[in-house]
Symmetry: C2
Subunit: 117 residues, 2 copies
């Protein structure tokens, strides 16, 4: 299986990095990785409800903007966020995005909880 | 003169907001407004070295992502960042971007200073 192309966060310019965050589906992938740490890609497709081929463009954008690292283990692909490298190259950017995603997730949980209904 | 369309930051979703930051020219406009506060649009075109028509698409994106407010005063347009409204709608996002733009500007000043040469 061929190795997938990654770009190091320090080689990505700011406008390119920001394209990682311009798609709702990519933000959902980032939110899952934030919550779970390293996650099998298949589990991400399943949670979001998209096919592997539907997700592949978004995973590529996330790898090529330095946001995501993917690796093979056995026959499965795993993905994780490149938190420390991103924080070093672009202090505060990923944290601000993750903070907003957590805030939105918390509002959704609140809204969907039986007590709130 | 017709009023230009603005969108309130609280009506902009996160992926849309992030498109404000995916273009080098828009980031330059944001950097100028961060440094100068409210600025005549003509002065921004001059500093960046683009025509009014070349800049208009970028100003529209910045207005419609809730990042920039423009107003007429006399015969001139002025623009400013919507810092407080953005901070309220998306805490930390604009600050993280501005922090990075200031860091890059500081590196450029350092590089271009006579002492460093």
């Amino acid at each position: 299986m061929r190795e997938r192309r990654h770009i190091d966060p320090s080689d990505v310019d700011l406008p390119t990095l920001m394209t990682a965050f311009t798609d709702p589906l990519r933000l959902r992938i980032i939110g899952i990785l934030d919550r779970n740490g390293e996650t099998p890609c298949a589990a991400i497709y399943h949670e979001i409800g998209i096919s592997k081929s539907g997700a592949s463009h978004h995973f590529r954008v996330l790898r090529e903007t330095g946001v995501l690292l993917s690796r093979m283990s056995g026959r499965d692909h795993y993905a994780c966020l490149r938190r420390e490298e991103l924080e070093k190259a672009y202090p505060g950017i990923l944290d601000a995005v993750l903070g907003e995603l957590r805030r939105q997730a918390s509002i959704e949980r609140e809204r969907d909880s039986p007590v709130a209904k």
